[in-house]
Amino acid sequence: MNIPNKTGVTIMKTLKKHFRYYPLYLMILPGFLLILCMRYLPMGGIIIAFKNINYADGIIRSPWCGFDNFEFLFKTKDVLIATRNTLSYNLAFIVLGMVVSIAFAIALCEIRNRFAAKVYQSIFFFPYFLSMVVVAYMVFAFLGMENGLLNKSIFSFLNIDKIRFYAEPKHWPFILVFVNLWKNVGYSTVIYLAAILGIAPELYEAAIIDGASKWQQIIYITLPSIKPIIIILAIMAIGRIFYADFGLFYNVPMNSGALFSTTQVIDTYVYRAMTKLGDLGMAAAAALYQSFVGFVLVITANWIIRKIDSDNALF
């Protein structure tokens, strides 16, 4: 008799403790419901990947089909090309983005004219604020076949043959990497700049007394000091390495079928499988493949960081 009573008492105590905070629960409630409906309920849709789905029967009554969708998915070469493209583009974005923006941040700190540095920083940030639709228009203004600035004015002035950018896949790795850098470097430069400005000036003063050159200061003080932020941004980027910026790969090449070999990424593949092929099951399998591998990657990246240097782990 005593034991159930005791648990009863502790349950009452816990409830009371929680009840004391009911205003905080009320505050959290609307956001909780929104996240539940918009981010957790859709996870239920994952079972589409294991079903032979049709709209008439709906998600519950459609027959199960095991891993058939996945088998079908990996039989086609398309998903492998999409995976290869996603990984190589992201790798290029991560490495180049990091190198360029750290270099920019260090150089911005060293410029003598502080006002000029501020102005540069503001201008570099500008492309970040544009939507990918707008960016696609701008790229088109340069590369368009009929009226594009390069083809119509510059190439004809230099006596070079016109290039059919929107029909030849080989140019796109360069174009997409360039557009991505152009759009995002300003943003990451600001983050690194803030980290560099936060370094204690005493470190540099001591280094100057010891006769360290500018390069030595960068290599032995600046870079090690911003290592944590570099690592955090790198883990986050590696965790997202299976995801691509849909707009960049869909709008900027203007959804041109001739370019799929170098512009198809997993995100666009899923979208096209869903809308153009109408194969919901296979598209869901591809989407699940993406989120599952992405999840494993972010956990692994974090686990490795925790092993090496637990202070810098994200969670």
Binding site: M138, K152, G294
Partner: protein, 301 residues
């Protein structure tokens, strides 16, 4: 060149090289904007003859005249975009600020659970197909205004930024002493916490504004009714399908009377300009708060 470099300053030559490089890159950053401006102010026939150029060979405001006088589509789309941006940002900021407060409180027993609840959505999601299916079948997202609002509301990243800001900038003693004075939790939140957190709130409001204003993907998934096209989606459609702009001409006879045909090329770039317009106007403000927000140091979850 005779001016000597100070102690621990880079040499004149290095300074010069960096400046030249940055100047070129800065031009590169705004060149596409200038090209779009140039094209939008050019006469359509000139564009067809000589292509897109920075400086109009023949100046013309036809594209803008067409957009504002006759293309009621575009004005309507502008309205949709403004509505979605304002309402979306308002709700999103409210929900984010409310959600972030309890999980910033160390004494709140469920703080850990709710933090993980939102953090997990950053690590894993159902994927495009699952959410598309659930949203359309369960929540009837097809051609509804809320399908442009809800998917982007409450970015988990923003929630964590605000939470970190509360933790760092709202002294615990203020909350404790207000409690002793008998203030309710809601009162403490509204009268103490929110005013102290203005910088963080301003920052996420900007993130949200930008996110809603630049969104076209939700429209791509859920909207097929022209009446609900946002500005970005109208532009998207005009980019992928040049004939779309010609349809405007069918409904607006005045345009054809004065211009003959729809100036499709220049109109597209006039749309680019009116889509970026608000961003450029608010740019100094935007930039200041963005930088501030990024430096809150809230990257760590």
């Amino acid at each position: 060149m005779k001016k000597k470099a100070g102690v621990n300053q880079i040499s004149n030559r290095a300074n010069c090289i960096i400046n030249i490089f940055f100047l070129i890159y800065a031009i590169l950053c705004i060149a596409p904007l200038l090209l779009s401006l140039g094209v939008s102010l050019t006469d359509e026939k000139e564009v067809i003859l000589h292509g897109f150029n920075f400086i109009p060979r023949k100046f013309s405001l036809d594209a803008y005249r067409f957009l504002f006088q006759d293309a009621s589509h575009v004005l309507r789309a502008y309205g949709v975009s403004i509505f979605v941006t304002v309402v979306g940002t308002l709700f999103s900021v409210m929900l984010t600020a409310l959600y972030a407060y309890p999980i910033s409180r160390k004494d709140f027993p469920a703080a850990k659970f709710f933090t993980f609840f939102i953090f997990f959505t950053m690590l894993f999601n159902g994927g495009l197909v699952a959410s598309f299916y659930i949203n359309t079948q369960l929540f009837h997202f097809k051609n509804r205004l809320y399908s442009l609002l809800l998917p982007l509301m409450m970015n988990p990243f923003n929630v964590l930024i605000v939470r970190t800001f509360y933790k760092q900038s709202v002294p615990k003693s203020i909350i404790e002493s207000s409690k002793i004075d008998g203030a309710s939790e809601f009162r403490i939140f509204i009268q103490m916490v929110l005013p102290l957190s203005k910088p963080a709130i301003a920052t996420i409001a900007l993130f949200d504004t930008l996110c809603y204003w630049n969104d076209w993907f939700s429209s791509l998934l859920y909207i097929s009714d022209v009446k609900l096209y946002s500005l970005q989606y109208t532009m998207y459609t005009a980019l992928m399908n040049i004939k779309y702009l010609l349809k405007f001409g069918e409904t607006s006879s005045d345009a054809l009377n004065s211009l003959g045909t729809v100036p499709t090329q220049t109109v597209r770039f006039a749309m680019v300009l009116i889509a970026i317009g608000p961003i450029i106007l608010a740019y100094p403000y935007f930039q200041k708060h963005f930088v501030k927000g990024l430096t809150i140091g809230a990257l760590k979850g």
